[in-house]
């Protein structure tokens, strides 16, 4: 019996924080690739400490719905899941290349496959592009458009910037958008000065966050100048200093994220049948024709 456990941050304050986790779990359930799909949280229930005891299967894949490798994926989650003998060297990662580690979870005395976070998987690049398609309503968006991939800087975690640069570089290599830039909230190049970094009249701004919340709904819209105060709301697109900014909101809410969760499990050995193709197909942006 094959089980997927999606572990995410959750929130004590924001009721929407768990929504992407639940949505992606539902998308994956619908594929039938796993006998069960469970969700566990740091700030909600079931907690990381107790989620594994709700799991019935014997082939268990745990995928963190987190953007970067770091404190949560390397310390908090392995500790709270009680992964026996965990050491970050199990992943042998340069900050972007964590794949999986098979360890016994003491809580249930069964082996689990602990996967790297979704945010650093190569398939995440496609989700960022898909997010740009979603917010513009154009499955071919790119020509005469710039793309800004935005995240925390290195202040809290140096790997955070690595993930952003990694995906921005990969998208740039595709020559799909006229310009692609990585911008940060707490270091240069800062998202506050977005129009200065782009020549294109239209720029899609995709924040590399899992859930919409304080950063994506208050911080960034105000910093970028989409609105004076987030409570006023903003249009998509909004023109700021001559640049039309298409603000996409958290990339983690994009339905294609389910694909990255599946990719992580597949890399760790999960048998997924046609689930990957199914998810890519069912989450596509309609052409509107």
């Amino acid at each position: 019996m094959q089980s997927l456990v999606i572990v995410a941050h959750g929130s004590h304050l924001n009721p929407g924080s768990s929504a992407p986790t639940y949505d992606h779990a539902d998308t994956i359930r619908a594929t039938g690739a796993f006998d069960e799909v469970k969700t566990g949280f740091w700030k909600e229930e079931p907690h990381f400490r107790e989620v594994l005891r709700t799991v019935e299967g014997d082939e268990i894949y745990v995928v963190p719905l987190f953007i970067s490798e770091g404190y949560f994926t390397e310390q908090v989650i392995p500790r709270e899941l009680r992964l026996d003998g965990w050491d970050v060297s199990e992943w042998d990662s340069d900050g972007l290349s964590a794949d999986q580690a098979s360890l016994v979870a003491e809580d249930i005395d069964r082996e689990i496959h602990y996967c790297g976070p979704v945010g650093t998987h190569r398939a995440m690049t496609d989700v960022i592009v898909r997010r740009a398609e979603s917010v513009t309503g154009d499955p071919d968006v790119g020509e005469e458009f710039g793309l800004a991939v935005v995240g925390h800087g290195t202040e809290r975690n140096e790997n955070s910037a690595k993930a952003i640069e990694y995906h921005a570089d990969r998208i740039a290599e595709r020559d799909r958008f006229d310009e692609v830039r990585a911008l940060y909230m707490d270091e240069d190049p800062e998202v506050d000065d977005l129009p200065e970094y782009f020549e294109s009249d239209d720029v899609v701004l995709v924040p590399l966050f899992i859930a919409d919340g304080y950063h994506t709904q208050e911080d960034i819209p105000e910093d970028v100048g989409l609105c004076e105060d987030h409570t006023e709301g903003y249009d998509v697109p909004t023109e700021v200093d001559g640049t039309r900014i298409w603000y996409a909101g958290a990339v983690g809410t994009e339905p294609l994220m389910a694909d990255v969760l599946l990719e992580r499990a597949a890399d760790a050995g999960a048998d997924l049948g046609t689930a990957l193709d199914d998810v890519r197909e069912t989450t596509r942006v309609a052409t509107g024709d």
Partner: protein
């Protein structure tokens, strides 16, 4: 149709509920055949009051295929051998409650410990006989789980059905409630309380009502309960098995890191009164329906009540850890003496306001009820009278410049 195993006429005479008529469904019968196919003749399949097995005597018969390959051993009757599939069906149809009960738990519910134990507990399957349970299920067996009311019933095919709703909605017609059938829909029902406020703790006694899952199967009933109160069945099951892994306060706080690492500094080896206050603040039954089993440490119990909930709390939760982080900082301050002048009624009013907030009663105090200390007009009057323009109570600054100069 043959009567069920126990004599319903007797039951009716005693005024007990009757065992319902059950038709043996083909999936249950096929499951019995399937189970027997994989067994040696010497390994019968045991049911309450009888067993069935494959009949090795059939081979000795001279009648060729006329002799059946099954046998049935009643606990209190004569063995029947050489039963054909049709004979076996007839015999099992006579015992349909017992066979469907076996099918319900062995094939529908399955082996997974928490699910199986919970669904058996709902109908006392480890205590009561099939006849007693089927009679009770026919009437509807009600159980409480947190704020849930779970009613188990049975169809004429021996299938369990479950109605799950808020206990406050007991007895309300299904048509008057919002009906659901997918347990995962409950994720939305648990998100907000009835005033529309986010519920960060799913076991808080603030579950909103007005909904019902009127007709769930066994697995979905378990999934629903675990969606509304995550991991509560798993922990309850571990506790029943004597395997609940309790992690006490000290151990939990020692484990914390990052912004929560500071909490361990709150334990200074000077007693555990601060943890009593935490438990009284957060873990009381009025705040959380779990029964707190964690203590200060292995050897030191807390002095406050852990509550009466049916499911246990095995370690301080993330809400407690987060609040403890705040208190660790606040409690590092030293007390100082402030001087205010309050009338006796004003002192009592301050106490009434604290009580009203702590007990979540401010919404219940009526707008014009100025007898209540925490009434809004009374409180605004107190503020108008006692606060200076900077919001200082009694005009006394929190940080006194004069004190610093002294």
């Amino acid at each position: 149709m043959a009567e069920p195993a126990s004599d319903p006429a007797d039951s009716a005479r005693d005024g007990d509920p009757e065992v319902p008529d059950i038709d043996l469904p083909s999936d249950a019968f096929d499951a019995v055949l399937d189970a027997l196919a994989g067994r040696d003749p010497g390994e019968p399949l045991r049911f309450e009051g009888f067993s069935v097995g494959r009949d090795d005597a059939g081979e000795d018969s001279d009648d060729g295929d006329a002799a059946g390959e099954y046998r049935l051993d009643p606990a209190d009757g004569d063995r029947r051998t050489g039963l054909s599939e049709r004979d076996l069906h007839e015999a099992l149809d006579d015992r349909a409650p017992t066979v469907t009960d076996w099918y319900a738990f062995e094939r529908v519910v399955g082996e997974f410990g928490p699910r199986r134990a919970f669904l058996r507990w709902l109908e006392d399957a480890d205590g009561a006989t099939v006849a007693t349970r089927y009679a009770a299920l026919a009437e509807g067996i009600e159980r409480a789980w947190g704020e849930l009311r779970i009613t188990a019933t049975i169809t004429d095919r021996g299938e369990r059905r479950y109605d799950v709703r808020h206990a406050d909605d007991a007895g309300v017609p299904v048509d008057d409630l919002d009906a659901y059938d997918d347990p995962l829909d409950a994720r939305e029902l648990v998100k907000l309380d009835e005033k529309g406020r986010y519920r960060p703790l799913k076991t808080a006694p603030s579950l909103a009502g007005g909904w019902v899952f009127p007709d769930l199967g066994a697995r979905d009933a378990y999934e629903l309960v675990e969606t509304i109160y995550p991991a509560t069945v798993a922990n309850w099951h571990r506790e029943r098995e004597g395997e609940l892994d309790v992690t006490h306060w000290r151990e939990t706080m020692e484990r914390q890191s990052g912004i929560y690492g500071v909490v361990k500094t709150w334990d200074r080896g000077e007693g555990h009164e601060h943890v009593n206050w935490v438990a009284e603040a957060c873990c009381d039954d009025s705040q959380c329906l779990k029964r707190r089993e964690w203590q200060y440490d292995d050897e030191t119990d807390l002095d406050v009540d852990g509550g009466d909930g049916v499911f246990p709390c095995r370690e301080p939760c993330s809400v407690v850890v987060s609040a403890a982080r705040k208190w660790t900082r606040l409690e590092s301050e030293q007390p100082r003496t402030y001087e205010f002048d309050l009338t006796p009624s004003e002192k009592e009013q301050v106490e009434a306001i604290i009580d009203a907030v702590a007990d979540g009663q401010i919404d219940e105090i009526r707008e014009a009820d100025t007898k209540e200390g925490a009434n809004r007009y009374r409180t605004r009057f107190l503020r108008a009278k006692l606060f200076d323009e900077d919001g200082n109570l009694g005009g006394v600054p929190t940080e006194s410049d004069e004190e610093d100069e002294e």
